[in-house]
């Protein structure tokens, strides 16, 4: 088997990756091409796909807002309406096309018959008739020369007019060029304003996202008995002012930490939460933040929450650390 044959061979590795959407486009296309040819491959893939689909259940279930279903039904209505409207229109267009085609065909047939008839009649003309035709041609030639002379005079006048217009328009071009330069300045100004609007929109979107998450958090808080929030603030010497809020569930050891204003960590780094018993930190969850510095992190206390004396957030290598290696970026400021 050549190297090329081996590269084209679809393996179980390929099928597993296909089920997880983890193949590049080229390999994916190759798998899809081979699936149609092999029942064995297809059956093996079905097993992988079924297992992959079960991963959808590994995510905590969040109930979407009612507006999502309403939006879906609205889109369904629009699609149904556009579908209903399209068919008659298409039918009408189709019928019209068919009608036009028939009309074109019959028109072409008519013209053809007529042309053939004229040609046939011309070829059977007698010599006497040909003389008459010659006299008529002479008269037509005289008429053509007279007509051409008149046309030449008119054309000459027309060229003179056009030259004058060109002169006038050359002046206009200068005026228009000036206007274009002014408009370009205005466009630059407008672009600058648009950028500002875009920045405002971005900030608004970020605020809306936070509001939605806050609502979910409020819901989470309403589902059980939670402690009063503990507040976090940024360590000194940071340009931004990161903040955090932690609430702990009173009975099952769960806690939620919401942070805001942390810069996204550089590649290969994550943030990590440290829970303190006395001076002893124990490692908590790692997390990153969105581009607005925002995240909500789930924590799990080991034992009674009262035994913990505080919490901090540090930046650590990807995967987290057993003990803090970075300086704190958030420190619990209230118990």
């Amino acid at each position: 088997m050549s190297a090329s044959d081996s590269a084209d061979q679809i393996t179980s590795d390929d099928l597993a990756a296909y089920a997880l959407n983890a193949l590049d486009e080229e390999r994916r296309a190759l798998v899809e091409a081979r699936l149609g040819e092999s029942e064995t491959l297809r059956l093996e893939l079905e097993e992988f796909e079924e297992t992959a689909a079960s991963l959808a259940f590994a995510v905590p279930e969040i109930t979407p807002p009612d507006s999502l279903k309403e939006g879906l039904l609205r889109r369904l209505d629009e699609e149904s309406r556009s579908g209903a409207a399209t068919e008659p229109v298409l039918a009408a267009v189709s019928a019209a096309s068919a009608g036009n085609a028939e009309a074109d065909a019959s028109s072409r047939a008519g013209a053809s018959d007529s042309d053939v008839g004229a040609e046939t009649r011309g070829w059977i003309a007698s010599p006497a008739v040909a003389w008459s035709v010659s006299g008529a041609l002479t008269a037509a030639l005289v008429l053509l020369v007279a007509t051409s002379t008149v046309m030449f005079i008119r054309l000459n006048d027309r060229v003179t007019d056009l030259s004058a217009r060109l002169d006038r328009e050359a002046e206009s071009v200068q005026t228009v060029s000036q206007s274009v330069r002014e408009m370009e300045d205005e466009v630059d100004h407008a672009m600058s304003s648009a950028q500002e609007v875009s920045q405002v929109e971005e900030a608004t979107n970020a605020l809306e996202q936070k509001l939605r998450d806050q609502r979910w958090l409020q819901y989470a808080l309403s589902t059980g008995t939670w402690t009063s929030p503990s507040w976090f603030s940024g360590a000194a010497l940071q340009e931004a002012s990161p903040q955090g809020m932690l609430v702990a569930h009173n009975s099952d050891g769960r806690a939620l930490l919401m942070v805001d204003g942390l810069p996204p960590p550089p590649a290969g780094k994550v943030y990590q939460v440290w829970l303190f018993k006395g001076d002893e930190p124990s490692p908590g969850s790692t997390f990153t933040v969105d581009r607005h510095g925002y995240a909500v992190v789930e924590l799990q206390f080991d034992g009674e929450t009262e035994t913990y004396s505080g919490a901090q957030v540090t930046m650590e290598p990807a995967g987290g650390s057993e003990a803090p290696t970075g300086d704190p970026v958030l420190i619990q400021s209230s118990p």
Binding site: N21, T51, A52, S54, T63, A318
Partner: protein, 192 residues
Amino acid sequence: MDYNDLTDESLLALIVEADRQALESLYDRYGSRVFSLSYRILSDQGASEEVTQDVFLNVWRRAASYQAGRGKFTTWLFGIAHHRAIDELRKRSRTRLNNNESVDDHLSLESGDPQPAEAAITSSEYGMVRAALKELPEEQRRVIEMAYFGGLTQAEIAEELSQPLGTVKTRMRLGLRKLKSALSPRFQVPEL
């Protein structure tokens, strides 16, 4: 006709006949699950809502293409949802991608307002799949999560983990096989 008593396949057959209420019933069964998966992948509520709507519109349009003999309805549905969410993720800047997270790092909120029966099923499935995932060796679980939730290709995962591509491929295959074994005795995706 009580749509709640119908199987997924029966509802799909009605959707082929353009029965809108059948689609609503499927949405009621799986809408929040599709939304939750999309949100886990995209971390963006607006985009997750759009993906969820697209998925069910796809079900509406493509119901006739579903073949019951070629896998469960839920496999088909979550396959569509996963493709759509990953496509959306790949369109977006990878800077928002959180490759270092695992399922455990993510926010875990309880279902918003489930019916009691639904809550029991949901809680049960969620717990069983997570328990099965935890049975996997860490390195196998990690590549599966990076692919399924992070939208990374095998080559990207190999680069991210600084591992040979062949190692990543093997871990992915062995991980899925082990996950299937771990799920088999205790988990069946419910067919209503």
